[in-house]
Symmetry: C5
């Protein structure tokens, strides 16, 4: 069973304690009556990661906040999922907010996630039950990984890196959809193409909106602004910053490509329609003068010399063919079809 999709009705605390020579992993359910002091009590030279998925009741949140001496405004913000990515420095801990984007069962999930980074612990608050941190759990379980040898700040970096990698994966899927749209536009463009373009465009808009403030967050973290992040880790944070810049770059490129495709789609739809209308109009225009001629000799005047002429009928046909052919030649010469 995959640990990341566990059902957490009663708000489960997923806890991983690790140091270079060992690790332990256990779950505490909220309804058991959590002893928050135990949570706070972290053994020496150990890093603790407390992960809380799927939201938890306000009361639990407040107890936890009191235990870790977290400001009431932060507690309020954790429960508020319209927050944009930001970082706040409360000396003893950092409060970091971000959006996590990933695909679950072919659906794009946008999840609000908050972190508290202390000296030897990280608390992560997820909105839903899934996340993108499976590989981090695996690396903690392995003896010789860098994460086991590093502290809470490196864990924080790993979490942010996993989130940013999630954006890359979503962008890859969008890139493929743009390629497909491009093919469609050039061959058969229908209203579905339009809707697909619109969906991809909106997804890109949201990705851009969510990644943009993360830029400032990582820029701040990589700039020696706090003692909670060691200089050695700052180098890694700057790498995350570079990745974010690449994501912003790519979304902008994709948006330009899409804008081009929207224009191309409009032109090619209208081009094709105009071609149809032109051909139809040419057909009508060809027959209208001929119908007129037929109409003339359908008149019932008593004195119409052509009517009685023996070859009148054939001559009329000849005239009509001549007119039709001249018109076709004229249209061809004018390159009208």
């Amino acid at each position: 069973m995959e640990s990341t999709v566990k059902a957490v009705n009663g708000c489960i605390f997923e806890i991983m304690d690790y140091r270079s020579d060992g690790f332990s992993e256990y779950w505490i359910e909220d309804k058991d009556g959590v002893d928050f002091e135990v949570l706070k009590n972290i053994p020496e030279s150990t890093t603790r990661w407390i992960n809380i998925d799927g939201g938890c009741p306000q009361s639990t949140l407040e107890c936890l906040s009191k235990t870790f001496r977290i400001h009431p405004l932060v507690t309020e913000d954790i429960a508020n999922n319209v927050q944009r990515a930001k970082i706040e420095d409360y000396d003893d801990y950092l409060y970091i907010v971000s959006k996590m984007i990933y695909y679950m069962e072919d659906e794009l999930i946008i999840e609000h996630i908050s972190f508290i980074l202390g000296w030897n612990y990280v608390i992560s608050f997820g909105e839903l039950k899934g996340d993108v941190f499976t590989s981090i759990r695996d690396r903690i379980r392995n003896q010789n990984t860098l994460i086991r040898k590093s502290g809470a700040d490196y864990l924080m970096y790993s979490l942010l890196d996993a989130i940013v990698d999630g954006y890359f994966e979503v962008l890859e899927v969008l890139g493929e959809r743009i390629d497909k749209v491009e093919e469609d536009v050039l061959q058969v463009s229908s209203t579905e193409t339009l809707h697909e373009i619109r969906e991809v465009k909106n997804s890109l808009m949201y990705i851009h909106k969510y990644i943009w403030p993360l830029r400032e967050v990582t820029s701040w973290m990589g700039k020696d602004s706090t003692e909670l992040i060691r200089p050695a880790t700052e180098l890694y944070i700057r790498d995350v910053y570079d990745h974010i810049i690449q994501i912003i770059d790519t979304t902008e490129t994709y948006r330009e490509l899409l804008a081009g495709l929207i224009d191309l789609n409009l032109s090619s739809v209208s081009f094709r329609l105009n071609e149809v209308m032109k051909v139809l109009t040419i057909i009508s225009t060809l027959f209208i003068p001929l119908t007129f001629i037929a109409g003339v000799y359908g008149m019932n005047f008593r004195y119409m010399p052509e009517i009685d002429w023996k070859y009148g009928y054939y001559a009329t046909w000849v005239i009509m063919v001549v007119i039709a052919v001249s018109m076709i030649i004229f249209f061809k010469k004018k390159k009208w079809f």
Copy 2:
């Protein structure tokens, strides 16, 4: 009776005095001959909130200004409702201007509001008779709220927070209207859709216009710029600042969504119209050659061999059907309908 919609012809001063262990609430009417010195005379460790709704005569304003030693330029500005949000620091007091947005009886009200924040008082000047401060009054009336334990700066924060929350509520309504417009555009788009889009677009424009300068105001207030705001309150002000950034973000997202809907509306209107015109033109084009043939055999030439031929009429029908069917097949093959 709701206190916020009281009729204030003679300019009523709504006064709330409170400290942690008590509060009093009373109204002074302008026509009574207000003793302004009493207004200024605030008991020790008490915070006074003077709220003046619905505009008041210039003379009263000037008396008030003299009592509280407010600069004549400020007095002038209070009466001028085209001001944009701003803050001015006069050492002894701050002058803050903002726009308040709320719905009253399904109509969007944009109200100009000014504040004077002194050491132990806040004076608020509303343009109309309604406001968004009911919850603040309730919190003052309750014993154990944070507002009762805090000073004038926290009251100022609460007022700004209530104003910004008003923006969120209006945005929520606009968000629902955008959702409805989207449905309309995809199903039946008429001129009403166009007008609805335009109205929402203009509302967003105004919200953006009014909230934008408030950003600078709260940024200044949260940055240790004045002693009138205590550091503990600055943290709360910065929270308001974050909310304002979120509102700006949301208006921008909504505007992008609307721009997409306007384009989609245009395309889908023109797409549907073009389909109609194409079908109509195809019908005409089908019958014009047939009418020509009928015209030919309606000619009265004496010598027309087909006329006398026994199966001429049936043959003509056959030819016409063949022509019509070939055209239909041709159009189908070309995917013209």
Copy 3:
């Protein structure tokens, strides 16, 4: 007679000397042979305002410049009316350039105006004979106004304030024109609407262009940059700065509104035209199959059984009515009209 529209062929110097307890007002004509030294000779604790309207000959300008020790580049600039708003600090005096906008006889006048602000004098050089300073003259003539108690810097503020107020008045007129255009667009939009939109749009463009650099000018003046402007006056200058920001804001709002109206106009013109074309095409399409049927029975084939049938004519009418009605029902069902 209004003093501001006096004919000034020979370049009249309009001079107002004032101090808190008196004022004098007189005119010197250029052709009299101006004694420039007298101009320079200002009595103690008196402020002198020299106003020169309608341009004056280069030679007079040069004499004046020499008297007041003005740099030749400034003298050159005064005569050059393509200058944008700017301020130049020459220690002993400030050189300020601006555009004045007002309506005279329903026509929008854009006038170039320059100022020299010295310690106890202001010289203003207008391009045309009208100006927006009438109210300032009245305030100087009255004993108890603030302007009489203040110095040259406050006069300078009053002149700039009057100029900026002129922009507000023009914007108000434009606002009314936009309201009228909006009504026109929704009811009857013609080419005149298009021209009206274009005119308002260009006016807004010019206002924006002229007011924009004035922002920097007043910002500089309000920032303690020069001793020529006292701190007390700087407060007033900052008020002018706020007004300028409001004007810029309003022009931007108006431009967005206009852009919306242009789009709406285009859509509603094309919508109405398309409706007309659709109805016309539907009428044609209804009759073309009927005409074909009539054509068929107009053919002269000898052997046409229907022709000799007694009820053929009536049957044909029935068929034609059935076809027409089915088509109408079909079109109605498809919501084509």
Copy 4:
């Protein structure tokens, strides 16, 4: 003969030496074997202007560079005419690059020009044989001009000023072309109008592109950045800077005007076309029902009561006229034409 259009195959050095009490003017041809040391040898209190038009061979350029101790990179840059305007400070001399724009025989010439400004000399390298410096030569030849009393820095200012004045002249011509285009758009707009708009638009784009970096160049020169330019001259340089800002302003205004004209052109072309199509369609629509009626009574049914009725023909005419008139009234009422 005009000195500025002299043929310079062999690369002619046009030299002007001047001081307040005299000047000399002579030409050295490259093929004579130039003694570069003489060029460098400038008499005391004399300013030398060496002008080299129409490009000169790389070898000459290198000799010159060695004589005046110019950095090889500069020598390379002088020969490279895709450079944008810039200034480089090499302590002993400044290297300034610009674009010169002027009309020669109704054709817009864009010429690359470089300057070396030393303590007592200016070297100018023109790409072509014409320039905009005639008035400067005249002022050097006159005894009492400011240029004769000033040094190399003032000469440099004069050269830049002449270049910037050239931009103004070109803008004036473009302004007139825009006025003409506006008239055309409102009266008869054809494809030529479109091409004219495009040409003016591209010219404005190039002017904007070339003048923009010159802004930074003059801003740097006017800011006390180098001892090669005296404070007194800096004032003049700042005047050139102001002119450049005006040119940028004007190009932006022109571009906005043109954008408006492009939209107006599109609308008025499509408006006129639509009017034509509507009238044509109305004519067709009027006659199609009438033709149908004529068709009905052209049928050859044996039993058609109306046919034998004495007034059938006249009645039919009456019906047809009634139908036509009702349709016209209907169309008029709907304001379709």
Copy 5:
């Protein structure tokens, strides 16, 4: 055989050692078991350039990194080809990333390239087997070139300069394609023109995207930020910076030109189509009233006086010609064709 297209399956190290009085050039294949210590061991006053084309296995990269004491993050980045241009300062060496653009066999190649610049060595990691460095190799092989007399920093400059020159060459090709597109648009514009415009537009977008961050890289390198680059070389780096600014300028000019061409293409396509439709509609409109008249006299009423009139037929012809001619005159007068 051209050295730059050598097949490098086993990852070949192409090494050039040079000093002012000699140079050596040799290749080491990875499979030989590279002695990395030898690579690091650079003779005194010698500059070593190690070029690795076509990617190399991760293990080799790691050995190399250990030898030259390169940070693991850099080693990771070298293998990651979605990096944008950047520079990182690791005190002992600089890590520089860029994109190289060139044409190989008429195809546009975008190659990711990384550099390590140490005190006396440069290591370059190319993604593919081709590069733009042939001229640099030639200059190293020649005795008297500046590169032979300079150190690793000048080599680094030469490499960047060659990359930037590659952009110029690609831009030149794109410039020619834009010229061709312009001709096409004015003469025959088809869907191919549209695709060509789109391709050029996308190429420009990518060039802009890749060159933009290189601006910051060279700006940093030219600003005395590191001791690894000598002041004399900084001057050359700043020259590269100027070239990059020119490339950005040119791409922006090209993009504006293309935007103009896209609009022109749309207008001219729609203009031509509209002309066709108008002519076709005019032809139809001319014949429809005439057909109606013919229809009238094709009716079979027994009592039609005109039918029996001797000149009825000719009179009808006259009427029809008069109608046709009046319509043509009317259309001509209205300038409809």
